[in-house]
Subunit: 329 residues, 2 copies
């Protein structure tokens, strides 16, 4: 693992993972611009390999492990969601064995997606400590390298390639809105954007209850321990606390003002994306869409050209939240 | 109205409507290619202005009316669906008054979409003759020109711009699969493709029950009168009979082999698009997707590079067919 991360790492990551991840399109939409009263640029990571941006960080980290040690016996991680699929895909691309630890009871489609990439699926109890312990045990027994979902500079540099591409396509962005969970994507994007553009501000978008803003303002980890998951429909961004590597980077490079989005608001953003842009996105992406359309004018009305990260598109199509929750818009 | 249609009309239409319709992206997807065992190129007319390809033909026809008669008192059409929205949009873009006749009971979102483009909404009884009569009466009373949804050479030339763009982007396509209803899009695409490429075949994709293939093989209108609507979930392609202008063009320029798709198959294609490509498409698009992935190998296994027209994305997100019909895939 690297010891910090800068634009050079992001650039190197961009070259390393090229051909294995998509350069995703940037969409614009007049209807959305009219609602937001500014120009929005949607980076479609929902169309990324494996259905989310996580493929970028996973590929960069896994490929680097193999560069550093060609005899690397493989990789292991714990995640039933986007990171699990992404590491399985990255390992398959690198030709490395891979184990993914998932809690018993993980829905079959998610398990199948991981198995389709050729990874071993290992079940554990549905607690945070059981997942970590099982993962560590596999690493200890097999020598496989643990790929952390966010607290890993190589992962962070990989996620930074989102900003690299977006600012190449739209160099004069005033701001980028990024859904935040552990902070890997936000820190990668913030590091890259700050070095690539003098004016582009990076705003985290959190699920309500994360309480990130006071932490960023004081630059202190004010969260209550033990670490908890937030109760939100956005299953991709449920981790409350940022990582120990990502937090200082987000403090230094991102804005300390945070967009806080409720489930109903995320659903509205998600539905706007389906309806107006014809893009299938998950709830975390909906949070960024909602913020861009409705919240910017209150929090910071100045940006005229705004990037919006549609971080993923892995939704359960049998249980779309505006149907299952019976909310109506 | 013009007296026939050729590539020159399509090229002129392309220039005429530029800036008013999108040059839609062409998507590729490894997962879909793997399923289809060939290269597929998806033309994303679901992302077109007004949510369907109909904006192209409507703009070309309405703009031409105004070119021919700058004092044109406006336009009128009958359609509660994609064509109604498209004509309303085209008229607004041309600065012309517009009436759209819709049957009483048309869902509110569809009415609102038409009204948002500034058109007058006129209600009629929910029968085919009532719609036509009301439309003719408005034309007679106001002088507004009727814009037929498909049996109009200017509309056909406008739809042909889909092939113009697609073959510019992917010149060596072996085939294009086109959902068919009245035949405006299929004839426009077939006329353009036949003149632009020596090898590109155009295949109609019909909802089961349309019985187009025997008509094309015999070059005769074998359908039983009076004209009827097909019982299908694909509300954009329910017209059984092709038009009197479109039928000869489809006979001459398209293949006489027709892909016939059931509702369940369309739903499968639609869901594949949502899940694998993260694109919201309507059932008619799903028919083309299903045919490309599953039916080509039986009907004509030879094409290796195939265009698939995702004709529209206007779906009722509260009633997605795989949920409301309780089919499972």
């Amino acid at each position: 693992m690297s010891t910090s991360v800068g634009l050079a790492d992001v650039r190197a990551a961009y070259k390393r993972i090229q051909g294995y991840v998509h350069r995703t399109p940037v969409f614009t939409c007049h209807a959305m611009d009219a609602l937001a009263k500014r120009k929005l640029y949607f980076k479609a990571e929902n169309m990324q390999k494996t259905g989310s941006f996580k493929a970028r960080g996973a590929c960069n980290a896994v490929f680097l492990e193999k560069e550093r040690n060609p005899d690397c016996p493989g990789v292991v991680t714990h995640s039933s969601g986007n990171h699990g699929q992404a590491v399985a895909y990255a390992a398959k691309s690198a030709g490395l064995p891979c184990s993914v630890v998932v809690p018993r009871g993980t829905p079959k489609p998610k398990c199948n997606a991981i198995k389709e990439y050729g990874a071993d699926l290992v079940f554990c109890d549905p607690t945070f400590t059981s997942r970590k312990d099982k993962c560590s045990k596999i690493a200890f027994d097999t020598g496989r390298v643990i790929i952390h979902p966010f607290d890993n500079y190589d992962v962070i540099a990989g996620q930074g390639t989102i900003a690299w591409e977006l600012l190449e396509d739209v160099p004069d962005l005033d701001a980028i809105l990024v859904p935040i969970s552990g902070g890997g994507m936000t820190s990668g994007i913030a590091v890259a954007a700050r070095e690539m553009s003098s004016k582009c501000r990076v705003y985290p978008v959190e699920p309500f209850g994360k309480e990130l803003q006071p932490c960023l303002e004081s630059k202190e980890r004010l969260w209550r321990n033990p670490p908890k998951f937030i109760d939100t429909i956005a299953d991709a961004i449920r981790t409350q606390q940022l990582g120990f590597l990502t937090f200082p980077l987000v403090c230094e490079y991102a804005e300390s003002k945070v967009f806080s989005v409720t489930d109903d608001q995320m659903i509205e953003g998600m539905r706007l994306s389906f309806e107006r842009m014809k893009l299938v996105v998950e709830a975390a992406s909906g949070a960024a869409v909602y913020s861009a359309v409705h919240s910017l004018k209150e929090l910071d009305p100045s940006p005229t050209k705004v990037g919006v990260i549609l971080c993923g598109g892995n939704v359960d199509l049998d249980h779309l939240p505006w149907i299952s929750r019976k909310t109506s818009y």
